[in-house]
């Protein structure tokens, strides 16, 4: 038996191919949206993986350090280090800012790390790790910085000594690692005028400027000029110690909040990017509905253009299922063309996106099934019209 759908498609291949390309670009956008969501989840996981931590110790009653701000004293890590099961512990700070290079600036998450401690980038693609206590930086390649670049963070210049890859914040901003002390200073650094004014106000306060207590004023001013806080302590465990058990110990004795890797992943995926995920989900639904409407409209229009032929086919004895099959096959063919175009388009344009777009084969399979389902549903309207065609229409009168 002749494939009526195949013949119709090959007869009007231009119409089908161009319609398929149009539909394909829409499918490509849909696949890319799914890829953007996957990329966000992957960024979040990369953030956790790259920190190299088993536990995150943060301020009590906060979801820090990524989802909420957290502030703990920078000497807390010593007590944590002494606890059973803790192999290594190091302070870490995070803040997002515009990092300047010459006249340009790049949005980046600046991470203050203890050189050699947890939180340091796991691997480098060029250069070396930070070895000095000040004014050296390791940057993610996505910043566009090169080895030897002099970048400005607040008022200080840092030399890029190493480059790393896939070190991004949960928002997709590339990371710039600098020594912890510099980061602590940069985090709450005031401008010079503000510092002078603060010192004058402190000196004018009789409670601090007491002739009977020499050195008090200097001590107060010194305490105001330093930042003794960090955002979190990253903890690595000794082999054989469970994260929950160690976390309980830290919570009990240090009165701090402790998150395990699993809990932190839940916070990042479930809370931090949940709104974005819902947003993307809405887009996916809308794009699916639009795709379905387009396929339905195209197939419906193509069918309306063949009403006379369908009437003739029915009059000469063609079964309804043959006609329905023809329309269904055309809708599916359109979907297949669209999917191939969409997948190819998404493959080529995904790397151009500023944020990471992760196209998973599983999503492609799910997308293909969804496209097929949409095409089948979209052909229902056209099939209904075709089945209602009266064979008598082929005869005049």
């Amino acid at each position: 038996m002749i494939s009526l759908a195949g013949r119709d498609i090959s007869h009007a291949w231009g119409k089908f191919v161009f319609t398929g390309i149009g539909l394909g670009l829409l499918i490509g956008v849909t696949l890319s949206m799914a890829g953007i969501y996957r990329g966000m989840v992957d960024d979040a996981k990369a953030l956790l993986d790259n920190s190299g931590a088993d536990l995150w110790v943060v301020q009590q009653d906060t979801l820090g350090p990524y989802a909420e701000s957290s502030s703990i004293y920078d000497d807390q890590y010593r007590g944590i280090l002494s606890m059973a099961g803790v192999a290594r512990a190091a302070n870490v700070t995070y803040f997002t800012m515009q990092v300047r290079l010459g006249d340009n600036d790049v949005r980046a998450m600046v991470v203050g790390i203890v050189p050699g401690g947890p939180g340091q980038p796991g691997y480098l693609v060029a250069g070396r790790h930070i070895t000095r206590s000040h004014y050296e930086a390791v940057a993610d390649m996505a910043t566009g910085f090169a080895l030897g670049d002099r970048i400005r963070i607040r008022r200080n210049l840092y030399t890029v000594v190493g480059l790393t890859r896939r070190m991004v914040s949960s928002g997709g901003d590339p990371m710039v690692f600098i020594p912890l002390k510099d980061a602590q200073e940069a985090q709450f650094l005031k401008d010079n005028d503000a510092i002078v004014q603060q010192r004058r106000r402190t000196a004018a306060n009789p409670a601090f400027d007491r002739p009977s207590v020499p050195g008090l004023l200097d001590a107060v001013i010194a305490s105001q000029s330093t930042n003794p806080y960090v955002n979190a302590v990253l903890v690595q465990l000794k082999p054989g110690h469970g994260p929950d058990q160690v976390a309980d110990t830290i919570r009990r004795w240090k009165r701090l909040q402790v998150y395990t890797r699993m809990e932190m992943e839940k916070i990042l995926v479930g809370k931090l990017i949940a709104t974005s995920a819902r947003q993307i989900g809405m887009f996916l639904v809308i794009l699916s509905v639009v795709s379905a409407a387009i396929v339905a409209f195209i197939i419906y229009t193509l069918t309306l253009g063949k009403i006379r032929e369908i009437a003739v086919l029915k009059l000469i004895g063609t079964k309804n299922r043959t006609i329905a099959g023809m329309i269904l096959q055309q809708a599916v063919a359109l979907g297949i063309i669209g999917f191939i175009v969409g997948k190819t388009a998404a493959f080529f344009w995904a790397p151009v996106f500023p944020k990471y777009v992760l196209l998973l084969p599983g999503d492609a399979v799910r997308g293909f099934l969804a496209v097929m389902m949409i095409c089948v549903l979209a052909s229902v309207l056209a099939i209904r019209v075709a089945l209602k065609v009266d064979p008598a229409e082929a005869i005049g009168g």
Partner: protein
């Protein structure tokens, strides 16, 4: 009449009413008609006289209100359909030729003709072979691979005739088959129908308004106000030539 009913078209007291109650219209009020196998008869009448209704009833696309219809020796209607699968009836027992050829635009000439036997379950090879035989008989085999829009009007109509004949139906219903053609090609089509009717023992009814071809019928049924009246036609012979030209 008994002989005709055994293998041709036999219609007795056929009635068709559209609508109900006061708005009902009787399109056919008791039509009688017989067409013998191998015979081509004309069906003429003014617009709205019931020609198309009669054709649709004969073509099993609308149900008559009453009467009896015998096609190819089988009773298909006797105050109700006697055949459950009307689609198969149309496919196997009735050939249709339309005012315009209505060829399937995305199938080539051979496949337009071969489609019917394929629908009837014949193997593709056999169906195409049969189609090519008919196209040869109708002198369009040289366009076998052409697409319908590439054919002239006359060629398209010959392909449509081949399609109507391909399943060797005992009955062919032609609805103004010469309307879009000039005189020469119109007469050529009628000659082809006569030739095919004789060759395949097919009973053919040709609905027409075309003054040019009316003289070619030996018998004509005139339909008026839902009734048919048989008249003798002139039965002028038309000689078809291979190149489509003719002399009347």
């Amino acid at each position: 009449m008994a002989d005709i009913c055994e293998s041709g078209i036999c219609i007795e007291s056929l009635r068709k009413r559209y609508g109900k109650g006061e708005t009902a219209v009787d399109a056919l009020k008791g039509v009688d008609m017989q067409v013998a196998p191998g015979e081509v008869v004309g069906l003429i009448g003014p617009s709205g006289s019931g020609k198309s209704t009669l054709l649709k009833c004969l073509g099993a696309v609308i149900e008559p209100t009453g009467g009896r219809m015998i096609l190819g020796g089988g009773v298909i209607y006797d105050d109700g359909w006697k055949i459950s699968d009307l689609r198969a009836l149309r496919r196997d027992k009735i050939g249709f030729i339309f005012q315009a050829p209505y060829l399937i635009p995305f199938l080539n000439v051979t496949d337009n003709v071969a489609l019917l036997p394929m629908l009837a379950g014949k193997a593709n090879g056999d169906a195409r072979k049969r189609a090519l035989e008919l196209l040869d008989a109708l002198d369009v085999v040289h366009r076998a691979k052409a697409m319908p829009p590439q054919l002239s009007g006359g060629e398209q109509q010959r392909v449509a005739i081949a399609r109507a004949l391909v399943n060797r139906p005992p009955v062919i219903l032609a609805d103004e088959p010469t309307a879009p053609l000039d005189s020469e090609r119109a007469l050529s089509v009628i000659e082809i129908l006569n030739q095919m009717a004789r060759q395949y023992e097919t009973a053919i009814i040709v609905v027409t308004h075309d003054e040019k071809i009316i003289p070619t019928f030996k018998r004509i049924y005139q339909i008026r106000d839902g009734h048919t009246q048989e008249t003798a036609g002139e039965g002028k012979m038309v000689h078809n030539t291979k190149n489509g030209l003719l002399s009347a």
